[in-house]
Point group: C2
Chain length 418, copies 2
C-alpha cells in the first residue's frame, strides 16, 4: 500500500531500550513503520545494552550444529540473526526490519522520533551520552512508567528527558503487561503528547538540508505540566517531514491488537502509572485479610479518587480528571495492577504470611524492588511537607501500614469520610 | 446517646423484602435506627413473604429439644425468635429491634420511610397491595438492581414504584455482594435521592395529626430522570418530621463497615447496576479465551465508556458521567461484577467449555437466570430502534455473540475505534 506522500522526508524511529517492554514496543513500532512507508523509514533501530549471552538448550533456536549456539555471543548479534530477544523476550519473533544496535550514538543517527523504554535509573546516563548526537528537532515518547517525587515536588520522566536533550518528549502508558502485548493478546494504551504549538505551523527550514542544523532555534513560551511558564528553546520540525501529531503517533503505535488513544495530558498519564501502585498495595492488603471483592473494589475506588485529586491539585493547569477515570493509563492500568500485579501480590502475601512487605519482596522478587512501597513513601513525604496528609487518607494509610504505625484492619476507619 | 431533637416525630422505617440482600439491608437499617433515636423509631419492620421452613440440623440454632426445631415453622416466627433469617441469610445475627412481619399492609403502617428490596418481578404486585395503605407522605428507597428497557425506552424501578404509590422513591446500589456485607466486611454503596424541592420547605401541616392525611396534596412541577416535565402530586412531609435529605439517608444506611455516598443521580445509579452486567459478559468472554489481564481491563474500560455514553445520551437532563466513573454504583460495582460475578463466570465458562451461555446458565445457576443476557438483548433492541447500534460497539458485540452472529475473538476488531 504505497500512498503518494506530500512530504519529502520520512521519520526514522529509534527505540532506546530492549527489556521485555522495550522489545515489545520495538516489535510493534517496526510492524507499523513497515506498514506505513509514506510516513516512516522502514528500518527501526533498537538500542541494546550489549551483554554476552548463551543460547539456552530450551530455546526454539538451539541447535548443536549452529555456530551461534557455541559459547557466549553478543546479545545484539543474536537478536539480529534470530529475530528474537532470547534473553528478555523469548519465543517472540521480532520483525526483520528491527535492528539491534549496541551503540547508543549510532542507534539514534538521523532519527527524528526517539522512543525511550528503559529502567528509570538509567535515564540521566543515557541522556548524557545522547546529548549533541541526536537530531536537534527530534521528538520523544517515554514509555517509562512512574514519576519522580521528592519533598519539593513531582517531576515527570518525559519532561526530564526533554529538558536534558532540548527536545519535546511525550509519554505512553497503559494496562500493558509486556508479555501479553508481545503475544499479540488484545490490549489498549494511552499516548500523551502536548508540545508547544509549533510542529503544525513549522517555519520552512532555511536550507532544507538533512541535518537541518541550520534551522533557527525557535524560542517558545511554554507552560510545562506544572503550569510554570518558561521559555524553551525547541527546534521546529522541518516542514519536509510529516508533522508529529496525534494522528502520526497513533499510526506509529496502534496495532489491531494494541489500541491506542492519544491525549494531551502527559502529567496525568505519567501519574497514573505511578500512583496506581500505592492503590495496588492497599488492594492487596484488604484482599490478604480475605475481605472479599466488595472491599477490594471499594479501596480501588477510593484510591482512584485520590489519584484524580492528586493530579488535579498538583498539576492543575494540565491534568484532566478523565485521564484517570476513562483512559487505559488510568482506571484500566489500576485494574490490571490490582488483579495480579507484583505490588498487589506482595501486599497480599505480607498479610497472609504475617511478614513485613520487605521480607515478601525478598522471597518473591528475586532481587527486584517494589515500585509501590517507594512511591508511597515519596508521595507521603511530599504530602507531609505540604500539610496535606489528611486529604489523601488512603495514600496516608498505606504509608502508615508500611511503617508499622497502622494496621490493615484500620483501613475502613482511616478512609471513612467525615 | 440521646440528643434533644427539634422534631416532634421520628421516622418509622420498613424494609419490604427479606432475601439475602433484603435481610442484610434490614440488619444495617435496624442497627442505625437504634443508634439514632432522635431521628428514627427504634423498631424496624421487615416484610417477609411467608413460607414454611424446617430448621436444618446444620444450623447453629438446631436443638432436638427446641419446639421450634420440630417440623415446619413460619419463616417470620423463626426470624423473630432466633434473630436470624435461617433460610436466606444463615449464620448472621439480626438486631433485636428488627421485626419480621408477614403482612405487607401491616408492615408499612405508620412508616414514613419504605425501603424496597425484592426481586423486580414482584414490584407491581407489591405496589398494588400497598396502594392506599401507606402514609401518603412516605418516601422510598429502592435497592432493586437494574432498569426496565424495551424498544420505547428505559424506565427505572424507583420511578415505577414512586408513580404507582404516589410517593418519591430514590435508589441504592453499589459494589455490594450481600453475603460479604452481612458479615460486616468493608464495602461502599451509593444512595441516589433527588426529590422535587419540597421536603426542606414543607408547609406546616394543617392539623399536625399523626396520620397527616389532612395535609393538602401539593402539586409540583417535576422533571423526571428522562427530562420530561410533568405534574406530580406529592404530599409534603409534615414539618414535625426530620427532613428526608441526604444527611438523613446517610445516617440511615451508613455503617463503619458500609460507607455511603449520597448523590442526586438516580438514573445513573440505576443504570450502573444494569449495564455493568453486559460488560461483565464481555470481560468473561475474553477471560475465557485466556487473553489475560490487559484484555480484561481493556474491555472493562471500553464498557465503562459505553455506560457513560448511554446514561448521558438517554438521560441527558439528569445523568452525571461521574456516577459511573467515580461512584460505588459505577466503576466499583463494575469491578466486582467482572471479578467473580455470575455473568462474568458464566460467559467465561461458555468460552472454556465451548457451550452456549444458556447451557452454562442451566449447569451453574440452579434454575436462576442471568441478568446480563436479558439486559444485553433489551438494550440492543432499544439501540436498534434508535439506529444507534454502531455507537455502542461493545454492547452490540455482546449481543451478536449471544445470538451466535459474532465470535468472541472478533471483539477487538468490533470495538476498534475508527
Amino acid at each position: 500500500m504505497t500512498r503518494l506522500s506530500p512530504y519529502a522526508k520520512k521519520h526514522k524511529v529509534t527505540v532506546i531500550g530492549s527489556g521485555n517492554w522495550g522489545s515489545s514496543i520495538s516489535k510493534m513500532v517496526a510492524e507499523n513503520t513497515a506498514a506505513n512507508p509514506d510516513l516512516f523509514e522502514k528500518e527501526v533501530n533498537m538500542w541494546v545494552y550489549e551483554e554476552k549471552i548463551e543460547i539456552p538448550k530450551s530455546s526454539r533456536h538451539y541447535s548443536e550444529s549452529s555456530p551461534l549456539c557455541k559459547g557466549e555471543q553478543n546479545l545484539t548479534e543474536v537478536i539480529n540473526q534470530l529475530h528474537e530477544n532470547i534473553k528478555y523476550l523469548p519465543d517472540i519473533t521480532l520483525p526483520d526490519n528491527l535492528r539491534a544496535n549496541p551503540s547508543l550514538v549510532d542507534s539514534v543517527k538521523d532519527s527524528s522520533i526517539l522512543v525511550f523504554n528503559l529502567p528509570h535509573q538509567f535515564i540521566n546516563g543515557v541522556c548524557k551520552s545522547l546529548k549533541g548526537h541526536i537530531l536537534p528537532y527530534a521528538r520523544g515518547i517515554s514509555c517509562i512508567k512512574g514519576v519522580h517525587v521528592d519533598e519539593e515536588g513531582v517531576s515527570l520522566f518525559s519532561e526530564s528527558i526533554g529538558k536534558q536533550l532540548g527536545i519535546y518528549c511525550g509519554a505512553l502508558s497503559g494496562a500493558n503487561i509486556a508479555s501479553e502485548v508481545a503475544k499479540e493478546l488484545y490490549s489498549e494504551t494511552t499516548v500523551a503528547y502536548d508540545p508547544p504549538h509549533m510542529d503544525s505551523k513549522a517555519p520552512t527550514p532555511l536550507n532544507g538540508s538533512p541535518s537541518s542544523s541550520a534551522v533557527d532555534l525557535a524560542e517558545f513560551k511554554h507552560k510545562d505540566s506544572s503550569g510554570k511558564l518558561s521559555k524553551v528553546n525547541l527546534r521546529p520540525l522541518p516542514s519536509e517531514f510529516p508533522p508529529v501529531d496525534h494522528s502520526l503517533l497513533k499510526t506509529l503505535f496502534h496495532r489491531p491488537y494494541f489500541h491506542v488513544r492519544v491525549v494531551h495530558d502527559v502529567a496525568g498519564v505519567s501519574l497514573g502509572g505511578a500512583l496506581k501502585n500505592i492503590v495496588a498495595l492497599a488492594a492487596g492488603y484488604v484482599d490478604g485479610l480475605g475481605w472479599g471483592d466488595n472491599a477490594k473494589a471499594a479501596v480501588m475506588r477510593v484510591g482512584l479518587l485520590e489519584m484524580v485529586k492528586f493530579g488535579t491539585t498538583f498539576f492543575k493547569h494540565s491534568v484532566n480528571a478523565e485521564t484517570f477515570t476513562v483512559e487505559s493509563a488510568g482506571v484500566a492500568d489500576l485494574i490490571t495492577s490490582c488483579s495480579g500485579g507484583r505490588n498487589f501480590r506482595c501486599a497480599k502475601y505480607s498479610v497472609e504470611r504475617k511478614l513485613p512487605i520487605e521480607e515478601v519482596e525478598k522471597q518473591e522478587l528475586n532481587g527486584q524492588k517494589l515500585q509501590g512501597t517507594l512511591t508511597a513513601v515519596e508521595v507521603n513525604n511530599f504530602l507531609k511537607k505540604q500539610g496535606l496528609e489528611d486529604e489523601y487518607p488512603l495514600f496516608t494509610a498505606v504509608y502508615h501500614i508500611l511503617k508499622g504505625e497502622a494496621k490493615v484492619e484500620d483501613i475502613p476507619g482511616l478512609i471513612e469520610p467525615k
